[in-house]
Amino acid sequence: MKAPGIAQREAFGAALVEMADRHPEMVVLDPDVCSSTRTSLFRAAYPGRFYAMGIAEANAVCAAAGMASCGLVPWVSAFAVFLACRAADQIRVSVAHSGLPVKLNGSYGGLPSGRGGATHSAIEDLAVMRSMPGMTVLAPADAAEARAMAELAMAIPGPAYLRTMRCELPDLFGPAWRPELGRAVELAPGRDLAILAEGMMSARALEAAAILARGGISARVLHFGTIKPFDAEAASRAARDCGLLVTVENHARSGGLGSAACEAVAEASPCRVLRLGFPDAFLESGEDEAIFAKHGLTPGSIAASAKNALRDTEWRDACGSP
């Protein structure tokens, strides 16, 4: 893996400060995690537009909805798991059903949870947020994309959920990168199989593709920075071109990227889809990389799983079995 860049939470915190003068309607609400999510940077720069809401996510989300109904554009920045799960009903009713421009930052998305174990690992947030009508769901790959997607979220008239990571991540995109909403990005061309990845897993997918290439397997890598609206066309094109999709996500295998891909290709271009992610089980304490490794989410494991799936698919095709 390349040398780590800066963490998405740092980029997000800096982006809020950077956008503040251009968006005087923007305010930030913090359920007492600002030093973790880095909205502390905004607090220091714009204390009059920063609201310390105490340890009360539900109140913070609905207060944000009330502010949004009066022309403000509030960010609620909290741990992903407590936004998506604890405040799910508040997001559903007061934000999504009302269609208000509340912007949600799910910090500490997925596994790298500061060694928080099962309760703090948000491996179902994408599933929950994807199920909310009218919600845009963003999963940036690196710091530059996190920053750009904070801008993108501000440009959306309705609510948005931006998932960011705590840990330092390798740089995939330069500072000039401007992602397009709802459009997957091809990080590497390929024809034997396609790896579809979200967020921080896209860098791992690229490394897995490099390993596969050394073994003579050509893997297309698609980065889905937008989970919703889902780029069904890119997934279906990959299914038609390659015949095997491997989805890789820092999330449970159900309800996130893998599910979105299956839904898309099942309707348009059915093909085999191998979903890599966390199982239907709670995570546990331990080093992040040890847990990723346990669940087959290192570049080497991803490559091995993809290779096995490709052999299996080719064997079945050769035998003519379903």
Partner: protein, 283 residues
């Protein structure tokens, strides 16, 4: 001095006539729809009449989005029949719209939907969320002086106070001495399946608000002569901090066989019950 928009003049007798009319419209609405929260709509009638015909400032049925208007949130969103009847009576839409209540395609959804009906300041329906939304509105009024320092009134049910989020909002606003917000509790003493019990007696509820740093008092919730000045005083008092008014009310008020009865929490009258009920309320 020019009359402020939203504050209609009129004698106490006229307000009482509006309350009678509101009860009649509620009964018409839920009877026609065959559904609705009759008991909790009838208990909030005087509160709605006092707010929409006396207390709320700068509300304008011709311009329901007017930025400097006082806000109203029906946190007990299931009592929507009462709110819709009040909005119709106040001129936000014709009374005939009430005929489509809870029908497919109607702007008058079972629970208030700000995207569909005029005059709804925020969508509600999941109990416990309205006070937090009101806190957000009060914060916006504080941050943006161009909104004219509007007030936000939030109507909660007494049973709704069992939702923990209410007290998250109360704690936040009380600790901050947040100006601009008035909570009104429709304390009708009955929830879906049982009486609310002693812990939710009006004086105990008022004590709770005070413990959270709010000014609080109990008022007779069906006495317009007491309710209007109490709400006016709350509106004024909210200039320096949050105020909670606990309105002592009767579930199903105005219809003898509905008063204080759990069974009328979420039920509409049949033809015979409807005929008896409208005979009792007049309007």
């Amino acid at each position: 001095m020019s009359e402020q928009i939203g504050v209609l003049q009129g004698s106490a007798g006229e307000l009482e006539a509006r309350a009678r009319r509101l009860r009649r419209l509620i009964l018409d609405t839920v009877h026609r729809a065959g559904m609705g929260h009759t008991g909790g709509s009838l208990s909030e009638v005087e509160i709605l009449v006092a707010l929409y015909f006396r207390v709320l400032r700068n509300i304008d049925p011709e311009r329901p989005e007017r930025p400097d208007r006082d806000r109203f949130i029906l946190s007990k969103g299931h009592a929507s029949a009462g709110l819709y009847a009040a909005l119709a009576l106040r001129g936000y839409f014709p009374e005939s719209l009430l005929e489509g209540y809870d029908e497919l395609g109607s702007p008058l959804q079972a629970h208030p939907d700000m995207g569909r009906a005029p005059g709804i300041d925020i969508s509600t329906g999941s109990l416990g969320q309205g006070l937090s939304c009101g806190v957000g509105m009060a914060l916006a009024a504080q941050l943006r002086p161009e909104l004219g320092g509007f007030r936000t009134f939030v109507l909660l049910g007494d049973g709704e106070l069992q939702e923990g989020q209410v007290w998250e909002a109360a704690e936040y606003a009380g600790a901050l001495r947040l100006p601009g917000i008035v909570a009104v509790v429709d304390c009708n003493g009955v929830q879906l399946s049982a009486p609310t019990g002693p812990s939710l007696a009006p004086e105990r509820i008022a004590d709770r608000w005070r413990a959270f740093g709010w000014e609080s008092s109990v008022v007779a919730g069906h006495d317009l002569g007491a309710l209007v000045p109490a709400l006016e005083a709350a509106r004024h008092g909210a200039g320096s901090g949050p105020v909670a008014l606990v309105a002592r009310t009767v579930k199903g008020r105005g219809v003898s066989f509905m008063e204080g009865r759990c069974e009328w929490h979420g039920k509409a009258p049949n033809d015979e019950e409807y005929a008896r009920a409208i005979g009792e309320v007049g309007g």
